[in-house]
């Protein structure tokens, strides 16, 4: 077929908009990730052949699911592997079950949620959850994921193969968790999405500060989750990502240097993201059963609504950190709370809290703790202490822009 044929473009468009939905339903019908993936590609190949001749079907997605299912069953018969049909679970039934089983819109939407929960199953390693989610739910290629995480492609491919084998061998079910399990399982999904976002927002290592595609993918995942399962903290996480993302343009200079929140040009913040984020925070807060992501989003919202850094309502921010610290006693949150208190009550009050945290040895290897201590010492005129802490922070920095930023701070001290 001529690649410029208009139907070719239609098939491409359907692939972009619907291939993940088709895959999600085929996994349910065929009971195996690899078989379903092959079936989906066969179905799109069949579309390229048949649609130019027969026209585009009224419901392309249903056509593709149906074609994929028949292709898979055909392939199984051709390979004369009837003995393995049992191993494919419900696949044998899928061959006789009426099309109504998958045409039902609700169960098809559930398929995408099933896919998300299966990819983020806590029996899979966190690395595997992230890789599998980006591969299966977002449709990124193995090479794209490998590049984004600075991991060799074969390592990443191996990780995905092992995860799929575990799903099959340990029989991780393809289902949305029961209500009793939902909160814990949703937390796992939110953690994966936020990890992807953060890897794109503050890359853990490497030459550049951010990898925009990963953050965009995480926001897309967040939107999908809110659409499928509008739980308060799912809204909270999406809000948090949007509010952080709104500052992306303003947080680095054209030559890639870090610009801290108080020095950012707020006219460069993305107002659409801020408006959407704040509406989501309000929606989550009004549910009264929100979690830590919602509180963090509310904090980001206070920053977003301040016209200037000086006009920031630090009282509100400290109050929100108090709530967050109660829900999550992690030292990183205690550190952020200490910085907010320094802004509200002066550097001495914040420094006392940070020294307390560092004395407990909890964050002694955490660069931002030393950088924050250095900054407060500098403001108090304790130059020698500031230099010592910046030097410690510099030793812990793993990113080029971070290193340059701390080096500039050190130069300005002298």
């Amino acid at each position: 077929m001529d690649a410029s044929h208009p139907i070719h473009e239609t098939v491409n468009a359907v692939y972009l908009s619907d291939s993940r939905r088709v895959l999600a339903t085929l996994i349910r019908l065929l009971g195996d990730f690899n078989v379903a993936e092959e079936a989906m590609h066969d179905a799109f190949r069949a579309a390229l052949e048949q649609w130019p001749r027969d026209g585009v079907p009224a419901n392309p997605r249903a056509w593709l699911v149906s074609a994929g299912r028949f292709k898979a069953i055909d392939a199984m018969r051709r390979r004369q592997r009837f003995d393995s049909l049992d191993a494919l679970g419900e696949s044998a039934d899928a061959g006789v079950v009426d099309a109504a089983a998958w045409a039902d819109a609700e169960s098809v939407e559930d398929d995408r949620l099933r896919l998300v929960f299966t990819c983020c199953h806590p029996a899979l390693s966190p690395d595997a959850q992230v890789a599998l989610t980006l591969r299966e739910v977002c449709g990124l290629t193995t090479e794209e994921i490998a590049r984004a995480f600075l991991t060799p492609a074969p390592t990443l491919a191996q990780r995905i193969v092992r995860a799929k084998a575990k799903i099959r061998d340990a029989r991780i079910p393809y289902q949305v968790p029961a209500p009793a399990e939902l909160p814990a399982r949703l937390d796992a999904v939110l953690r994966v999405i936020y990890l992807v976002f953060n890897e794109g927002y503050t890359a853990s290592s490497g030459a550049s500060l951010t990898r925009h595609e990963l953050s965009a993918e995480a926001i897309r995942l967040g939107r999908l989750l809110v659409e499928l399962l509008p739980e308060p903290d799912a809204c909270g996480l999406l809000a948090l990502m949007l509010l952080n993302e709104s500052r992306r343009e303003a947080r680095t200079s054209p030559d890639g240097e870090i610009i801290l929140l108080d020095a950012q040009d707020r006219s460069r913040w993305n107002r659409d993201f801020i408006a959407e984020g704040i509406a989501l925070v309000e929606r989550a807060l009004s549910s009264r059963r929100f979690g830590p992501y919602t509180i963090q989003a509310a904090i980001a919202g206070v920053h977003a609504e301040a016209p200037t850094a000086a006009a920031t309502n630090w009282g509100d921010i400290v109050g929100l950190y108090d709530v967050l610290a109660q829900a999550d006693g992690s030292p990183v949150i205690a550190l952020n709370r200490a910085v907010a208190i320094a802004m509200r009550d002066g550097p001495a009050a914040g420094l006392a809290l940070i020294d307390g945290i560092l004395d407990r040895g909890e964050l002694s290897e955490y660069r931002p703790a030393h950088a924050a201590r250095a900054e407060l010492c500098r403001r108090l005129g304790r130059t020698a202490d500031a230099r010592a802490s910046y030097t410690r922070a510099l030793a812990l920095a793993r990113q080029e822009p971070e290193r340059r930023f701390i080096e500039r701070q050190l130069e300005e001290l002298s």
């Binding site: 199953h121 029996a123 061998d169 340990a170 029989r171 991780i172 079910p173 289902q175 968790p177 399990e181």
Partner: protein, 116 residues
């Protein structure tokens, strides 16, 4: 599908859960048709490890690996999928003292010459 739930406990916690509670748990699981077999084990220092090399068995005392937690017992269960197996494992009393490793049971395939 069968799953083997391996109970791991630190040595000083081997008797932290009363036998009566484990018995009751086992009876409950057996009554609901989930449990195929379950046994507690004597401590790891009662073990002998056997290897056969060049056709000759050698025997040494103790378990293969020295770890903080030791195998303290097992439950062989029949569950629909991993989620159900995890739910059962969470009901095993020593889960609150140590840990339960849930492993799917593989079926032997006589046609397979060597492990893949």
């Amino acid at each position: 599908m069968k799953y083997l739930c391996l109970v791991y406990l630190e040595k000083d916690k081997l008797h932290a859960v009363p036998d009566s509670e484990c018995l009751a748990c086992g009876n409950g699981l057996r009554a609901s048709g989930v449990l195929l077999a379950a046994e507690p084990l004597y401590p790891a220092d009662t073990a002998a490890t056997v290897r056969v090399r060049n056709g000759k068995p050698t025997i040494v005392d103790g378990p293969f690996a020295e770890t903080k937690e030791q195998l303290a017992g097992f439950y062989l269960i029949d569950a629909r999928d991993l989620n159900e197996a995890i739910q059962v494992a969470a009901r095993i009393p020593p889960a609150r003292e140590g840990s339960i490793e849930v492993r799917p049971v593989r079926e032997l395939q006589p046609s397979r010459e060597s492990p893949a």
